[in-house]
């Protein structure tokens, strides 16, 4: 009896390995869109194969009946890691804002599409969340919810969801390619039934260590992963990296960027992984090195991750609650097990009922009169809903 069970499991295991190899070999996987600095005009289309495919290319066109244009990909092997897998990136430039583009593998009958960021000052929404590193089932459920939200928003004629701002800790161990491939597999769940891709604006978390992060998101090899994304003429998202020096070049860069982009931005938002005002852990370098700059340049909203809780602080300035201060939200609920927030901390006491422990994402809508943040729990319940007014 025991032998029979043993043989059956062995056969199943062999079949799974063979099927997995076949899947990787025959179909380019993980078609995705990455946004970095200018998503109204640029987007990176990426996918994965298990052969070098030096002639890999993508075809794209404005959504409709126009001719397809083929562009060759930059190819490379994911290193280090098993199994052997290759990344392919195509950077599309010169795109039109607020325009839908179709992409497909050459001569493939099936295509996917995405919408570029707006070029005008119009309302739109992004999804934000972090810490998808563990809790695979919950991660997949969250991705299903994202897909549903994107679709429902479009169907209801509300401001479209244009991207996912991921706050980092995509996976448990950033040096494990198998975990990245699993994450990329799961991310395809966010694609709607109409084939709409959800672009990702990635943040590096402490678990995303190693060179694979830059390979997955098409950053240059030694890139430090901090950049400003112009989501619209009136909205900018600053992505920072708490996993490199926060006090050195990045701080100098942040000061310059804030000085440059504050005036033309109605809404100026930052995202980074380790929190300055944590609900569970201790403050990261963001507290010492970035918060004074946030306050000097009147950042509107700060999105943090890493703590695995739902958090909202009151507006904070100069270590005091101040109506002119900055609201910090977070802290990562895209799959990872949730913790109990320490609401006895001075900056969480007034908003203790806005803190909790549940898988969640932030649904952020940028309008002319208000910036609306909703915390949506897995299952769809709105846990928190608040507005910010533009700064005078």
């Amino acid at each position: 009896m025991h032998d029979r069970v043993h043989w059956r499991s062995t056969i199943v295991a062999i079949l799974l390995v063979v099927l997995n190899q076949a899947t990787l070999a025959e179909v380019p996987l993980h078609l995705r869109v990455t946004w970095l600095t200018d998503p109204a005009h640029e987007a990176t289309i990426s996918w994965t194969t298990n052969d070098p495919a030096e002639s890999a290319a993508i075809e794209f066109r404005q959504r409709g009946d126009g001719p397809w244009v083929a562009i060759a990909a930059d190819n490379g092997k994911f290193t280090p890691g098993e199994p052997d897998a290759w990344f392919h990136h195509v950077v599309l430039t010169g795109l039109e804002p607020s325009t839908e583009y179709e992409v497909r593998q050459p001569n493939d009958s099936e295509s996917r599409w995405f919408r570029t960021a707006p070029g005008d000052d119009v309302p739109f929404a992004i999804l934000s969340g972090g810490d998808s590193r563990s809790g695979i089932n919950e991660r997949q459920e969250m991705n299903r919810m994202m897909s549903r939200l994107v679709k429902e928003q479009a169907a209801a004629g509300r401001p479209p969801v244009i991207a996912l701002a991921h706050g980092g800790d995509f996976i448990v161990n950033g040096t494990r390619l198998d975990q990245w491939l699993q994450w990329l597999d799961d991310h395809t769940i966010t694609t709607t039934s109409e084939g709409q891709l959800l672009p990702v604006i990635p943040t590096r978390g402490n678990h995303d260590m190693g060179p694979l992060f830059n390979q997955v998101w098409n950053f240059p090899k030694d890139d430090e992963n901090y950049f400003v994304t112009t989501l619209s003429p009136a909205v900018r998202l600053i992505t920072l990296n708490t996993e490199t020096s926060t006090a050195g070049d990045q701080r100098d860069w942040l000061a310059r960027q804030l000085s440059d982009v504050r005036a033309p931005s109605r809404w100026l938002v930052a995202q980074y992984h380790k929190p300055a005002f944590p609900a569970v852990k201790i403050p990261s370098g963001a507290y010492t090195n970035w918060v004074p700059l946030f306050e000097q340049f009147n950042l509107d909203l700060s999105i943090e991750s890493d703590g695995h809780v739902i958090k909202r602080t009151p507006p904070i300035r100069d270590n005091k609650i101040d109506p002119t201060g900055i609201v910090y939200i977070g802290e990562g609920g895209l799959g990872v097990g949730q913790r109990k927030p320490q609401t006895s901390r001075w900056y969480l006491q007034p908003t203790a009922d806005k803190c909790g422990a549940a898988h969640h994402l932030h649904f952020i809508t940028f309008g002319a009169e208000r910036l609306n943040v909703k915390v949506i729990k897995l299952g769809g319940e709105v846990f928190d809903d608040f507005d910010l007014k533009p700064r005078e």
Binding site: P80, R133, S134, G135, I136, V172, N173, G174, T175, N206, H207, M209, G210, P211, E243, T244, S245, T246, A247, G248, D249, V280, K281, I282, P283, G285, T288, N289, G337, R339, K340, Q342
Partner: protein
């Protein structure tokens, strides 16, 4: 002549007094001129005792208040990511009980350190290193870029002094196992310096920020590139000292390591402030106390040795 005779007699008396603590340990080129006394000087043991107690208090605070540590992760994270999956509540209860135990152990170490409590402290420190290794914490991301397979083992090096310090205190206080005590201390100091040296050589961003923030606090405009150059130098020195401390018995090597251990421990308070930094400083005081023990031990042994040589040469002169 009477004055010479008197000095010889005084030296002989000193030699006899120290002779009780002499062993016949020889190793390395310096050991040709150094006979290791049986027990480190009392002052060195007092410092070590204080540092081990401080380590307990710092760890207890981190476990009970900060409520986030590799051990906490090991206890509450699910099994598919390397944890034990006990859930947050259970993990917190365990961590807080451990914190209470460490607090009590710290007090016991100050009052009357014994083998059981010191072995317990060493075991807890080892447990922290295991948790760091298991959960992939406790090493810089910069190292993961270079040697991803080896990086998770770094905590066993960086934590070596914290694991060894209670054991050294226990064995050294007993006055036995002189050779083992010295070897343990030397290798623990060396491993920790190698670990931190590697972190400095890969320009660990937290070290870089410590230099930058400290410089800013003291009114210097230090650039990141300059801080990284400084880390390269610090890393080379750390690794070189680690080699020297196991290869030779030079008190200045141990002395410099004690000085540097104190600087790096205090830097936590300087950079993070008293509230967020004191536990980091407290847990790292052993990085000062353990090399200090070697420094004082070797210094005193050297003094005893030179006294003995003086006596021997004086005796030869007298005979001649």
């Amino acid at each position: 002549m009477p004055r010479q005779l008197a000095s010889i007699l005084i030296c002989a008396a000193r030699f006899r007094r120290h002779n009780r603590y002499l062993t016949h340990d020889t190793e390395g080129d310096d050991n040709r001129t150094m006979t290791l006394s049986e027990r480190p000087p009392a002052i060195a043991l007092h410092w070590l005792r204080f540092a081990v107690a401080a380590q307990c208090f710092g760890n207890a605070w981190a476990l009970a208040w900060v409520v986030t540590s590799p051990l906490m992760s090991l206890l509450w994270e699910p099994a598919d990511v390397g944890g034990l999956g006990l859930g947050e509540e259970t993990a917190l209860v365990i961590c807080r009980w451990l914190a209470a135990l460490l607090l009590l152990s710290g007090v016991v170490v100050l009052v009357r350190p014994g083998p059981i409590v010191l072995a317990l402290i060493a075991s807890v420190q080892l447990l922290f290193a295991v948790a760091m290794c298991q959960m992939g914490a406790g090493y810089p991301a910069e190292l993961a870029n270079l040697v991803p397979g080896i990086a998770p083992w770094l905590p066993f090096e960086t934590q070596a002094m914290r694991i060894a310090a209670p054991l050294v205190l226990w064995l050294a206080s007993s006055g036995r196992y002189t050779r083992v005590v010295e070897l343990l201390a030397r290798w623990a100091v060396a491993l920790t310096f190698v670990g931190h040296g590697i972190e400095a050589l890969v320009h660990f961003h937290e070290f870089c920020d410590m230099l930058l923030i400290a410089a800013r606090k003291w009114g210097f405009d230090l650039r990141q590139s300059a801080a990284e150059h400084a880390l390269t130098v610090i890393g080379i020195i750390d690794v070189a000292l680690a080699v020297l401390i196991v290869a030779t018995r030079r008190p200045w090597v141990a002395g410099y390591m004690a000085f540097w251990g104190l600087v790096t421990a205090v830097s936590r308070v300087v950079v993070k402030g008293t509230f967020y930094g004191w536990d980091g400083t407290a847990t790292r005081l052993v990085h000062f106390a353990l090399p200090l023990l070697l420094f004082l031990w070797w210094q005193s042994s050297k003094r005893v040795e030179s006294t003995r040589e003086t006596i021997e040469s004086s005796s030869e002169l007298t005979h001649a």
